[in-house]
């Protein structure tokens, strides 16, 4: 590639101070000291589960001590096997204000346990800061919730939700739509399916489903009404239980005798509000 340098305009002063990188725009002497942004990465170690939905947010604080607003770029580089939601986050930082960024950090299914780092820079050539992340392998064996962290998929997902919301370990309906839950994306259209996979056959003996049920959104008004619980074996779905006219929030389905399956799904046929299917948490256990 033929690259021709035409103008080199700006030199930038850069100071790195004990984990905090400081930038001061110096393109114009008259503006020196204004619009200075510093980046602080949250201290402590972040724990993530090695599963598609096992990630956690890393909080990065940007503080502008200057009297001018600034637009900044944060460049994010995870160490393997870590994965981050973004490689660049750009944002405005108001004068004498600060902005908290959340970078989702995760590790792929099957990653070994261990501690790794995520590197962050303020600006493409900024000083590097590190955040430590501990990876925990997905639990298995007696008493383990095999659904925790996924992988999970859905027939559709509403734009304000994530399919991960139903296998994130948070079964509290009070956190609905702000921190947890899955809501399908096709209003008034059924069936909807919500499917968790185990990456291979697992003997399971109990399934627990939490549909939306809070003081504000009671199950009798907003929860799943009619649905089938199915397990996959030899390429065929087998119905373990079919529920009709449900009005409760937590439903438990013993599987006796235990079956070997690589996937469990909920086939939602109707909801009490007739619009959307809503699942707060799906749990699948073995040897429980």
């Amino acid at each position: 590639m033929s690259v021709r340098k035409i103008i080199a305009l700006v030199a930038v002063a850069l100071a790195a101070v004990a984990g905090v990188a400081t930038y001061t725009g110096t393109a114009s002497a008259a503006r020196q000291g204004r619009g200075a942004v510093t980046m602080t990465v949250q201290s402590g170690t972040l724990d993530v589960l090695a599963a598609p939905c096992g990630g956690r947010p890393l909080v990065v604080d940007l503080a502008n001590s200057g009297a001018e607003g600034a637009y900044v770029d944060v460049f994010i580089t995870p160490e393997r096997p870590l994965v981050t939601s973004h490689d660049v986050i750009s944002t405005y930082v108001p004068p004498n204000g600060d902005v908290a960024l959340r970078v989702q950090v995760s590790a792929p299914l099957g990653s070994a346990g261990g501690t790794h780092s995520v590197s962050l820079r303020l600006g493409a050539r900024g000083a590097q800061q590190q955040a430590a992340v501990t990876v925990t392998p997905k639990p298995s064996g007696p008493g383990a919730n095999l659904a925790l962290g996924g992988p999970v998929s859905a027939s559709s997902t509403h734009g304000n939700f994530s399919a991960c919301g139903g296998v994130d370990g948070n079964a509290d309906s009070a956190d609905w739509s702000t921190r947890t839950g899955w809501n399908d994306g096709t209003r008034g259209v059924f069936p909807d399916t919500y499917t968790v996979e185990f990456g291979g056959p697992q003997a399971i003996d109990r399934i627990v489903l939490y549909t939306l049920d809070s003081a504000r959104y009671p199950a009798a008004r907003n929860g799943l009404q009619d649905f089938d619980v199915q397990v996959l074996g030899g390429g065929e779905w087998t119905t373990v239980s079919n529920v009709r006219g449900n009005t409760t929030g937590r439903l438990e389905f013993p599987v006796d005798p235990a079956v070997s399956t690589e996937s469990v799904r909920i086939v939602a046929l109707a909801s009490n509000s007739a619009d959307y299917s809503r699942i707060v948490e799906l749990e699948v256990y073995q040897d429980s």
């Binding site: 590639m1 021709r4 750009s90 303020l122």
Partner: protein, 559 residues
Amino acid sequence: MGRNADLGPALSDPGRRRFLGYSGIGALALAFGPLRAEPSTVTREASRFKNDPFSLGIASGDPLPDSVVLWTRLAPEPLASLGGMEPHRVPVRWQVAEDARFRRVVRQGTATARPEYAHSVHVDVRGLRPGREYFYRFKAGNEISPAGRTKTAPAPGETAKAFTFGMVSCQAWFDGYYTAYGHLAKEDLDLVLHLGDYLYEYGVQTNGGRPDTPVPGKFHTPTVHLSDYRDRYALYKLDPELQAAHAAAPWIVTWDDHEVVDNYADLAHPSAPPEDFLVRRANAYRAYWEHMPLRALEPAGQNMSLYRRFTFGRLLEFSVLDTRQYRSDQACGDGLKTGCEQRLDPSRTLLGDAQEAWLLDGLGRSQAKWNVVAQQMMLSQVDFNTEPGQAFGMDLWDGYKPSRDRLLNGIVERKVRNPIVLSGDFHRSMAANVKRDFDDPASPTIATEFLGSSISSGMDGADMDEFGSQFLAANDHIRFYNGQRGYMTYSVTPGALNASYRVVPYVRERGAPVFTRASFAVEDGKPGLQADSKSAARGKSYLSASEVEPPEPLKGYRK
């Protein structure tokens, strides 16, 4: 058009003044722009890109008698961060010609794609002739963009014999295909108006309305940061039918709420206190500017002036409004309300005092035969309740009744010639006689309103639905309703304005045909819908309220 054609050396022409004039602003942007920590903010001639740098298409807009703004953004990897561009400046050459083969080039120059603006380019080409068709293209390195067609406004004082324009709004990518844009691009139009909701802040799910187009995980969450909004614009602008519509005519754009977030009002939104919300608004406004063919300079911080006026000789004048940035918070907690007293509070405003004064002053001074107020929200009263006790959408003009009364009284007092109100937002088509007092059937009609439906938002819809039958029953001044997707075209002459509702029967599958569902005429000097013709419905004929996506005023987050 062949690649690797030489566009020739950059000329010093009036169109470059914008870039020369930028040197001061450029210095400021370098001091405070996103890449000021980059030690070598150099301009590099890039001769090769990993992929087509013009993947997001081209556009033109804000036409004046001697000028149009040309736009593009270099993004060889459109869904990657920063469009896959390195953080240095890249020169981008441009040409404007009188012919589609670029044999008669009349203006050309070199602009600079800057990393702090996501390598977007805005060229304000001056020195053009009025009322003329032009063709334009860009070149970066050895890559040449597709050619676009544009048109300047007629000369001041001239009364054009005819003028045609299109009107669009509300293009939720995840709700369906942009089939309507494909048809719009084939219409012969002098101008396209976009009335907002070009982009939606909602997460785009892989299995949503376009199952054949999977998107990376970063699109699954709502837009908050500047980088989120940039990436989302890139996703939307990758659509070839949207690109074709931009390439077909100059656009005049304004925003509604979803370019930032559903139903925000100035700095008020339930998601965050104002001191935090202003960061999101600043990010959204900046990204909007970067991706639209706007003459305005780039915004710095949470404010951006967008309302403006365009005059097309003596025939037509557009007052383009911003009904989001300056409005009072929605009355009575937003949503659909009956008996809300706060909506009658005269100290509340939809336009803000400065914009309201500017609008009325401009309408009073206009020399144009047709005076078009191009804005977002249904202006006419929409009573959602067929029972006694009116129910109004608090996000609409109904939620700001004194603001509407001041506008309508101002139109009457100033004897504004042929006032026409254009609106979007609703995901429905309606035509209405604008009454001085909507609750008095004997009240005179003082203007005519055309509410245009969405390009895709709301999915397929139906010709009539439960909402529409209620609106028609409860609001005598609303004379037409359709609940499907599409756009509008207008043909304007000194004697009449003709409006056509162009409808596609479905958007969840590709390839729908387009048909004219209804046409209305407004005659010079006679406000109101004077004549109409309607063709047969196609697609779904009727859906109950539970089977159809609700109109936009009933959707989304409720406070």
